[in-house]
Symmetry: C2
Subunit: 370 residues, 2 copies
């Protein structure tokens, strides 16, 4: 068994576990920083490791187009290409084909698209998505699914559910013979009955883990949370449960309470590059607070003029090298002057915040407080 | 005495020395990475220190306009603002006013210009340039000079020499009472008699060191080297000699042979950001070699297609973290994908190359081989 539950909360659906992969064992619940093109933007693998990241997510679509599989194959695999010795999860490429690719054509056999740069036509089938991820050598690969945007009609969402099941069945014969873990994805948009149908069909297949996909794609939180609340706990208990693409710090805490174990999101890294930083707050009277883990936090927009002469560290409770070495005034200056160091210092902080949050969450589940 | 010569070469004019500054003693000859806006682009002060950088150069003009003196004053000084505990040299701001500023007006009292961003009018006088650099708190400050471009008529070059002398005399009363070292600058473009006149006038003043300015501003090397060769050795023997704005690796070696002790240049850092990297070569039959120190080197344009499948380290003789951890193929991929990590890995390598070159040069002077 690659997944072992160490403890279940009695106060919520939260679980503490261990996920065993080819490149290491990871404590759940965990968060995956995004290394879209084989690099978590602005930081090195050594830094990631020092920050406490145990696993990163890389995007199959981007890597498939650039640098291309041939180069990664010749490097050995993605781990060796990017010099990250820890576990990697790759997505199937489907989500990006649906959201980014040109001249897209979906059929039951797969999805065709045009690479805008080369003008070349590509076809991604369920089997090809597995094969590509095998070449990338990721520890966890995702089944090809059809992900709908929001809003979507029920008819279209149902078609996507059916196709996702068809595709999942098509690859189920590969699952048992691979060292890579393979996860199936539940679709169904915000329709309860479609979610139930998708969950029933996908979890009937011998995947190593299951994901809720097609959420955090633009729907209001009031439509998303009922789905997570109902279907998170319904995912098989003995397999890791992955909520794709979420989210803000307090949302991660909520999702853990609904029984989810794995998360990925561009928020900490992308927001960092735009100067939006997360800081812990101990004074509950501060403005615009959110509660996450066992503390409050708020957002700092470091480019605001009020930080011009602010020589305090970004976050006085944070142990990251950014907060230990630089002032808010200097960080703001770096952003205003478009200095490349700004991206790095901000990314280091936000990732530290997220990884520390996940550690706090695990600790709280362990102590029976979440 | 802030400067002490440890050894003079018998084979050339090269000297080995120690320059004592408020923030540390530096072995000469040395190279200063450029921290234009208070950050060596894409690397942290801790990294710089680990690479072997002992001193950085910051640009008064840029810092004066952004973030502005008030903020740096409140931080304490530039060292504290940017968290660099080592020595800093600041230029006077003059060079950038001449090359970058809008609506420039030069008179004998100083130079006026408009800040394009704010529309504000500023005046830089010789005394004000000293005062600004005092607020920045640099270890070495430069006198305000008038730097001509190339080509320039003799009449204009002479006017600039006279004004540079006038300005230098105006601040000479500040020199003895400051903890900061202050350097005077010799102008005169490529005219031998003007260089001699400028040298006579400037070196008569009690500066702590002297610089050859107005070189590497676009003139052909055939016009530059005779000036460096003649006037490098004529600069006072007991003071540090600084060749401003030079240069490529083999040029630094040549300039050391002509008796120069200090260098600064954007080449290693700017070229790094454009994917132009310096690598050592031991096989003298390789193409496009240059000789520097005791080795050959060549330039690698990492974006070229031939590096696509090249899994060798960038420079097999280099000990930097980039060469130890990443392949040429991965570096190329980062550049082609516009990943911010590319800038950093390339900068780390090129600075390591330059700083190692200077170490080799010092070692060679010590061993009597240069």
């Amino acid at each position: 068994m690659s997944f072992k539950i160490l403890k279940k909360s009695t106060k919520s659906q939260a679980r503490l576990g261990l996920l065993k992969t080819t490149h290491g064992v990871i404590e759940t619940p965990f968060f995956m920083p995004i290394a879209t093109r084989g690099s978590v933007k602005a930081v090195t693998p050594e830094e990631l490791k020092a920050l406490g990241a145990r696993i990163v997510l890389a995007n199959t679509y981007h890597l498939y187009l650039r640098p291309g599989l041939e180069i990664i194959k010749r490097a050995g695999d993605l781990h060796r290409f990017m010099n990250w010795p820890g576990p990697i999860l790759t997505d199937s490429g489907g989500y990006q084909v649906f959201s980014l690719a040109h001249a897209r054509k979906i059929t039951d056999s797969g999805v065709e698209f045009t690479d805008e740069n080369s003008g070349q036509r590509h076809k991604l089938t369920p089997a090809r998505a597995m094969e590509i991820q095998k070449i990338l050598g990721s520890d966890i690969r995702m089944a090809l699914d059809e992900c709908c945007g929001y809003p979507v009609t029920k008819a279209i969402a149902e078609k996507a559910v059916n196709r996702t099941t068809l595709w999942a069945k098509g690859i189920s014969k590969f699952l048992k013979i691979s060292k890579q873990l393979t996860f199936g994805i539940i679709q169904g948009s915000t329709f309860r009955d479609l979610r139930q149908k998708s969950l029933d069909e996908i979890t009937a297949l011998p995947f190593d883990g299951f994901a809720l996909g097609g959420l955090a794609v633009g729907e209001p939180e009031s439509k998303m949370w009922p789905i997570v609340k109902e279907f998170g706990p319904k995912l098989p208990d003995n397999k890791p449960r992955y909520l794709m693409g979420l989210g803000k710090p307090h949302q991660l805490v909520q999702a853990v309470k609904y029984g989810l174990d794995m998360f990925d999101c561009v928020i900490p890294t992308r927001n960092a590059r735009h100067g939006l930083l997360y800081v812990w707050r101990k004074n509950p009277k501060s403005k615009n607070l959110r509660f996450a883990g066992n503390s409050f936090y708020s957002e700092v927009r470091i480019k605001q003029a009020k930080y011009k002469n602010d020589f305090k560290p970004l976050d006085k409770y944070c142990q990251c090298s950014t907060c230990q070495n630089y002032s808010r005034a200097y960080l703001r200056h770096l952003f205003m002057a478009n200095e490349p160091l700004a991206l790095r210092l901000a990314t280091i902080h936000n990732l530290t915040f997220y990884l520390y949050l996940m550690k706090t969450i695990r600790c709280q589940v362990k102590l029976g407080r979440l």
